[in-house]
Symmetry: none
Subunit: 219 residues, 4 copies
Amino acid sequence: MTPPTTTDTGGKRRRNSETTRLNILDVATSEFADKGYAGARVDEIAERTHTTKRMIYYYFTDKEGLYQSVLERSYSRIRERERELDIEGLTPSESIRAIASLTFDHHENNPDFIRLVSTENILRGEHIRKSEALNNLGNPAAELLERILTRGQADGVFRTDVDALDVHMAISSFCVFRLSNRYTFEALFGRDLTAPAHREHLRTMLGDMIIAFLTSDAT
Amino acid sequence: MTPPTTTDTGGKRRRNSETTRLNILDVATSEFADKGYAGARVDEIAERTHTTKRMIYYYFTDKEGLYQSVLERSYSRIRERERELDIEGLTPSESIRAIASLTFDHHENNPDFIRLVSTENILRGEHIRKSEALNNLGNPAAELLERILTRGQADGVFRTDVDALDVHMAISSFCVFRLSNRYTFEALFGRDLTAPAHREHLRTMLGDMIIAFLTSDAT
Amino acid sequence: MTPPTTTDTGGKRRRNSETTRLNILDVATSEFADKGYAGARVDEIAERTHTTKRMIYYYFTDKEGLYQSVLERSYSRIRERERELDIEGLTPSESIRAIASLTFDHHENNPDFIRLVSTENILRGEHIRKSEALNNLGNPAAELLERILTRGQADGVFRTDVDALDVHMAISSFCVFRLSNRYTFEALFGRDLTAPAHREHLRTMLGDMIIAFLTSDAT
Amino acid sequence: MTPPTTTDTGGKRRRNSETTRLNILDVATSEFADKGYAGARVDEIAERTHTTKRMIYYYFTDKEGLYQSVLERSYSRIRERERELDIEGLTPSESIRAIASLTFDHHENNPDFIRLVSTENILRGEHIRKSEALNNLGNPAAELLERILTRGQADGVFRTDVDALDVHMAISSFCVFRLSNRYTFEALFGRDLTAPAHREHLRTMLGDMIIAFLTSDAT
DNA sequence: TATGAATGAGCTTTCATTCAT
DNA sequence: AATGAATGAAAGCTCATTCAT
């Protein structure tokens, strides 16, 4: 009754089916990102799709299954990008800066993803925790960071009282907040964190801050 | 039909009414924080209240009005705490550290507030923008930061290419992320950012990072 | 628990109470006329009143009692006006014309009354039927008509195959329809039956029609 | 989410759907006619239907949409009947009498329609005004009347100070009042305007009155 | 593989009415 | 004689989901 999740499309007729699936996922991604899990409407998703509501249930079982698939695909994409990261020939500091900038830009270019993550955290991560797909993805950025940090610490240029996840968290928090909290921030302080001028300032500031921190003496 | 929004309680008779109102607000705060705006149920809120559903509409007009009131009260409380901040006799660096720690602890102690802010950002800040009450609150922490930063910059100890809102954003992002994104972070990296041991580590790290940054040379 | 319905106000203190009652009736009349029985809101009536909702129940028991009182008072007023009718010295034809014109103007000047009657007919007259007050009012206009018609018929100027109620009905239907059905009529035919120019034309036409009919030969 | 409003039924499969729609309309017509707009209950309508409440919203969006559809269909039906009117070979006077009788009988046979019209007038015609469907129906009876009246006036048998709409209004008011105001009329005067004996008397009287008027001299 | 029609449970909201003071 | 607070029942409406074809 439910088609294989793995998309081993082969014959011609299947191509159409895969298109339908992807079309649904695209629409659902934007809808969940836009309204959150509870706020998203299956009807609305179906309407913006090239198919009917029935197909959503056929491919994804229920609203939750659809959401889970959306979440998994969104994370997979980010991971793919991270895997392309190349720091060949850079010093540890330059590398860290590169990673920070890449994360910064990733978020800038994927606001839907950020919103999905917010939604998932409102749900206390119950879906990401259950997802086997996500648990097998690994974390290229964090792993790369680990190598760079270790090298920098061995070289004596980086302080040693922090580990890769600490740094990763510092970078992520800055990048995520800028987008995820932009609305309340602007309402309270009148500053649009995503305005082009500010964006550049903040990208530089993030690199400076992380490097200043890593190269300072532990107190 | 609808009681005055302004809580001009004065006589003794009103005490009861005010109690009801506050009771509803308390329950609604936890419900909205727990489930988000769309996920929260008026029925559920009513059930956990000492009154009936009808009273919610009597005092707050509709679900949205209730949510708005919850949001306003939550922000007001944070602002009140910030107003108590006292940095008398501290150096600029010590002051910054104090503010960072205070923000860190505020968030730690008010997880509901953080979740409410996430929800409001999913709604693109439409309520906070409309709220006159919130627009008149001011931002004690940001204003204090402004004074300290200016002094530190005048003293030549702080770099001059950042302003108070930049610093405020850096501090907030770190504190907010630790709580708001704890679930996805833990699922992905296996680290609980709120575990006591880590909490202390991160509080110190935040202070170190901000100070390292502010006292480093602008590049 | 309920105050006397008959308004034998005497002392000073009661005057206030009677004012309250009348104020409620005024507001309720306009509200019921405006929205119909089911469409009217007790809350809305209370709000437009100088008192509170509790008083409505105190004086009129419930929504139905209030409606009944409104209906009774409205009919009483019309009857009072009719009682003032004076056809002294007019011929039967002139008298009929006078009655037709008076009815026409009554309705023109009491649109609320017409709407109330529509509402009561939607309710199949269940309240007017129950009202003892209304059953004791008599029908001055119909009774007067009776006398005139009888005289005209005896004089040989009026046809004899109609009675007073037939004529009364013909006059009323014309006058009532012009107001009660003005909205659908205008929507369908683009003519506003209440526009001043048309009003005068129709008043004359009504007199002409009734007289033409009464003075024509029975077929 | 919502099915097409235009009933482009064509294939066999749709028959079922159209049946459901019509069934709802039938029940709703009687319910709105019975209780008025505000007094009618969607739940009640659903119960008397062969489907569920959900279907009402599926096909008609909301209570107002349902009411609007009921109104449109009711008017359409009357218009259809009017279109069948045939006065071939009758004199102008005979034709007018035929139209008056037809209108009289239409109303007699469609008491629901009369009540619906009352309700719509209580609502100040807001739906009939908005309805494009109703604005394109035309008014066969009024148009026919126009032709007959013009002919009669040209022949010198009809007075010339009235137009077709005046006559139409006179006829309609008499026919509508007899049904729409029957309850208050009976309560006040003890006469049932719809009793068979009276019905015949009134039908004749209406014809006599209109003809007497039209053939009398303008004063 | 696809679709329009249908559904029941549950959601937000409203209403006439009453209580405590 | 008067009032603000409170209420239960029911109203209109929406949602995720499934059926028949």
